[in-house]
Every structure is written in structure tokens, then in C-alpha cells.
Symmetry: C2
Subunit: 319 residues, 2 copies
């Protein structure tokens, strides 16, 4: 998916403005002031979607470097941007952590004293037990924590890589702790519905197990296989690049994803990831053995069963 052209984006904005009264985007904005902490692929896509569908009156953005602040400003992603977290979250009724999950504790510590009473804190991270562990204990009483994970992305990173349509037709998983203020959960759900996502509620531990197989293992495997190719001797490596169209290139796309984000995911979903690696390894060993001993039927059976899953995904419109 490419960044939409200015024209296409403008046309979509006009269409959003022309929507009927029931459509998100014409009603009163859901939030007065949304603060985005981090402005990479997901943060900047969210900023664009919030703008397009008029989900907030004001968007503020915190970035780690002055260079990122300048990009956010140049791209017109927000009303206020800075590296200092205090002024960015002050007065926000929604704060969204869009940083790699490894710095959540640090960010939560920095924003805690500046959060408005009754503010909602949410995130977009790919692991959810760690939000309970790292963020919840640091927030002041009266602030509502509603962890979220929009299941969407591309292999591109940075503020320029975002686009408003990223979340369209995709799932957003919310993992609020039992007893969380219901109105706050509903407002976060409304934000993502406003971005054209579908909502799923899940227990954080279960989320981390499911995502370990649908996302973390695929990324780990892709990084591994591309790494295996990188280590080949020079001439073979050149040929691997030349003949990548035979299957390898799909892995290189996944293995081009943001390194910091993925390091943090693996380190923070260790248990579930190690468990699925173990299962995967057993299955690979069985195939390896079937190839060694020429067991064609075992190979054929597996290769036939895996086709079914593809069909289910196409039927579920997630292909």
C-alpha cells in the first residue's frame, strides 16, 4: 500500500465531510485533545485518520528527536509538537502511546504528573501483558487505562510512511483490565471504529498467545531466513537477490520492518514466542525428516491442509 496522493487524500476528506449525520466525522469530535506519544508508521497514520474523520479537535504530538518533530510539523500531522512530554499531554482527554513497547515504563513515568484527571491512556503496541505490568502501576488514580492493538501495519517506518487508510477493515483488539471504566473503553472503541476498524475485546494474556503465532513468529522466521541469506558467501548472495521473486522476496518485505519495535516485542512476549518457536521447530524437524527419507505422502498431506487456511483467510476478508 502506498501513501495516497494529495488529490486522493483531499477527495477522501471531502467525502468524509459529505457523509450523512450517522457517519463518524460529522458528529461532534469524540475527543477534545488527543496526544500522540511517538509519530512513526502507526502514530502518523492515526494522526491522519483522526484528521480526516474529525475525531478530535486538537492533535498534539511528542517525538523523540527534533528531526521527527520537524517532519510531523511539515506533514501537517498536528497542532502542537515537541520533545518535552509535559506540555504535549497536559489537558489531553486521550493520550496514545505510539512508541516501541520497550520505552512504555519510561514514558508513563514522564507523563504521569501531567495527566488531566479523568484522562484516558491507551496504546497501539503489539504486546499487551506488558501494559498491565509496566504502565498501569505508574498512572495516577482517576486516569483510565485502555490498552489497544490495531492489527495493521506495513514494512515501512517513520512519520512519512503513515496513511489514513491503514486501519480500514482491520481489527483493533482492546484488552482493558476487568473493572475498567466502561465509558472510557467505549470511547477508545469509538476512536478505532472512527478509523474504520472493527473492535475485539480480549484478555491480554490470550492476546499475546494469539499474536505470537499470527505475527511474532512470522516476523521472527522472516528475519531468520533473510539473515541466513545475508550470511551466504558473496556471489551466492548476489544471486539470491537476483532470483528473489521465487518466494524469498515476500520474507524480505516482512524482515524490513522496524528493528527497535520488533526487538522490544520479542523481549516482552518472551514466554509465548519461545513456546511457538518450539512448536514450529518440532514441525520443521518432522518435515526435514520426511524430505530426508523421501516420504512424499507426508509432504503432500501437509501442503494440502495448509491450503484450507488460506481459503478461510480469504473468506474472512483479511487476505
Amino acid at each position: 500500500m502506498a501513501e495516497p496522493s494529495g488529490d486522493r487524500a483531499a477527495a477522501a476528506d471531502a467525502a468524509a465531510a459529505a457523509d450523512g449525520p450517522d457517519a463518524p466525522g460529522t458528529a461532534e469530535p469524540l475527543f477534545d485533545r488527543v496526544a500522540l506519544i511517538g509519530i512513526g508508521l502507526i502514530g502518523s497514520s492515526l494522526a491522519r485518520a483522526i484528521r480526516r474523520y474529525r475525531l478530535a479537535r486538537t492533535i498534539t504530538v511528542a517525538a523523540r528527536t527534533e528531526a521527527s518533530c520537524a517532519k510531523a510539523r511539515d506533514l501537517g500531522l498536528c497542532d502542537l509538537v515537541g520533545t518535552d512530554l509535559g506540555p504535549i499531554v497536559a489537558g489531553a482527554d486521550l493520550v496514545v502511546l505510539c512508541t516501541p513497547v520497550g520505552v512504555y515504563a519510561e514514558v508513563a513515568t514522564a507523563i504521569a504528573p501531567h495527566l488531566a484527571p479523568g484522562a484516558i491512556v491507551t496504546d497501539v503496541g503489539s504486546v499487551k501483558q506488558l501494559v498491565v505490568r509496566d504502565v498501569a502501576p505508574l498512572l495516577p488514580a482517576g486516569v483510565h487505562l485502555v490498552p489497544a492493538h490495531p492489527v495493521a501495519g506495513t514494512e515501512h517506518s517513520g512519520p512519512e510512511a503513515g496513511f489514513a487508510e491503514l486501519f480500514e477493515g482491520r481489527w483493533c483488539i482492546l484488552t482493558p483490565a476487568p473493572g475498567t471504566n466502561e465509558a472510557s473503553v467505549e470511547r477508545v472503541a469509538a476512536l478505532w471504529r472512527g478509523c474504520r476498524s472493527m473492535i475485539e475485546l480480549m484478555d491480554p494474556k490470550h492476546h499475546d498467545v494469539v499474536l505470537a503465532i499470527t505475527s511474532h513468529l512470522p516476523h521472527l522466521i522472516a528475519y531468520t531466513i533473510v539473515g541466513t541469506a545475508v550470511d551466504l558467501e558473496e556471489q551466492t548472495r548476489a544471486e539470491v537477490i537476483k532470483f528473489a521473486a521465487a518466494g524469498f522476496r515476500d520474507f524480505t518485505r516482512i524482515a524490513a520492518s522496524d528493528p527497535v519495535m520488533w526487538r522490544d516485542i520479542f523481549l516482552n512476549n518472551r514466554e509465548a514466542v519461545l513456546d511457538v518457536i518450539q512448536r514450529f521447530n518440532e514441525d520443521l524437524t518432522a518435515l526435514q525428516r520426511a524430505i530426508r527419507w523421501g516420504e512424499g505422502e507426508a509432504l503432500f498431506d501437509l501442503f494440502t491442509r495448509t491450503r484450507e487456511i488460506r481459503r478461510s483467510i480469504i473468506e474472512a476478508r483479511q487476505a
Copy 2:
């Protein structure tokens, strides 16, 4: 890649007809009569490309079942079609094996008595040492064997899945034995250039090593990971399908490839495939260990190096 619409195909045909005298398609056809044995994704794409670019006067097709013959006829892919190999290859100046590689020996035995003197036999298979092993000894003297591998494909199978553009801008690797008639090698190269492919000459053993990493290992890994997911308990499996967009779906696409074709590839490139599985396994074990012991730097380093390969592939226009 989708099947082009009728309009687009017609426009491309018109453009081909209007090409200058140097363009493939307007000169005298390269071949008088091309016989395609097998009419799956590759065979039917080749038939379409031969038609569009006028690379042969007559196309004959052999299919394994009457149903496939009917499809080839309905799709207008050829001038003559049948299940009996003799009449299909009789009088052909080019015979292309487009079956799974596991039946090459059987096919070569069946066609050998019917091949015209001076005919060229080629193939489109993904492993090349086996052509030397299984096909070469069965051909009569005076027939020229020029093994070929168009490095192109999709996850779809069957005569309906083909399209004339499949080979455009892709590599086709030829692996003729030393001493092969040069004019025959050149005519096979011209066929693939006529399909808008680029030509590479390679030793069959080296081909099988390179493709083991760029194609066979990626497919094996994709089949494995999707198989691991298939074996999950019912509820988790439903969620894996639902949240496939997080990385998993790319693997399911690859793992939907033709089971017979892939079984035959693994069984016939055993040595090279087992070698790359071994390397891959060592690398995965190292990553597993880094995750277990929280070695963030090792993860970050690998994830950064793998990005480079993606960049090289994009620069090589094979992305």
C-alpha cells in the same frame, strides 16, 4: 497479480502487433509447432504469452485428464489438445515439459518415440539436476535438451490461473549441459525473451543450491508455520484466521501453492534443501537463545542487517 481483464489483454495484443520489426512478435514465429506437456499455471501462462507475442504458428497441449483438456480448449489456449502424448509431440520443433518434476521420467519415456529429429526438449521445472538425471538419458540422439526455469509464479494453480504477463521482467535460468547445440540454446533463450523475460545461464547444481535458499526454503518454512497454526486448538485457530493481517497471511499465500509440484521439488532437491534447513535451524536457535536471555542487541543487529537485503532487492527491481 490478477488475471488481466479482456480489454487489457486485447490492448496488449494490439500493442504487440504494432511493435517495430525488431520486437518479438512481428518477425517470423520462432517455432512452427510448440507442444506443451501440462497446462497448469506455468504451462497456460506460456501458451498465452506464445499466442500474444506470436512466438509459434501452432500450439499443442497434452493434459493428464479430460477435464483439463476441456479447460484448455475452452480457454482457447491451443490448436490441438489431448491426453495421449504421441500425437501432441509429433512434428513439434519444441516440446516443453510443464508437469510436476516428479513425472518427468515417465513423460520422457512416453514422448521419446514420437519426437521429431532435431526437436528441442525444454522444461519449466524448479529443480534442474534432475533433468540431467531423469530426462537426458531417455531422449533419442539428435534431440536437443535445454532445461529452463522461469523464476516466476503465483500461489494459484490450474489452466485458469495463468496470464501472459507472468514472465515479464522476471529471470529465466537455462542450464544446458556443456556441448549442447548452441542454436537450440539460443532458440529457447529467444522464446523466453519473447515472453519478456531476462536470460541467465547456470550450472544445474549451482541453480539447485541458489533456488534452495530463494525459493524452496521459503516455501518449506511457509508450509511449516501454517501447519503449526492448523494444529492449534479450534478456538485459537479461528483467531489466527481473524488476525492474520499481522504477518501470518503472507505465509498462507505462499503455503497455498500447488502441493504436488512442491512435494516433487523437495523430494528432488533433497541435498540442497536439507543443507539450507540446517543453516536456517542454527540461525533460528541463535535467535531463540537471544530472546530467552534477553539479548536485545543481538536481535537489533540482525533486524537491521536484514533491511539491507530488502533495499538490494528493490534496487534490482525484483520486489
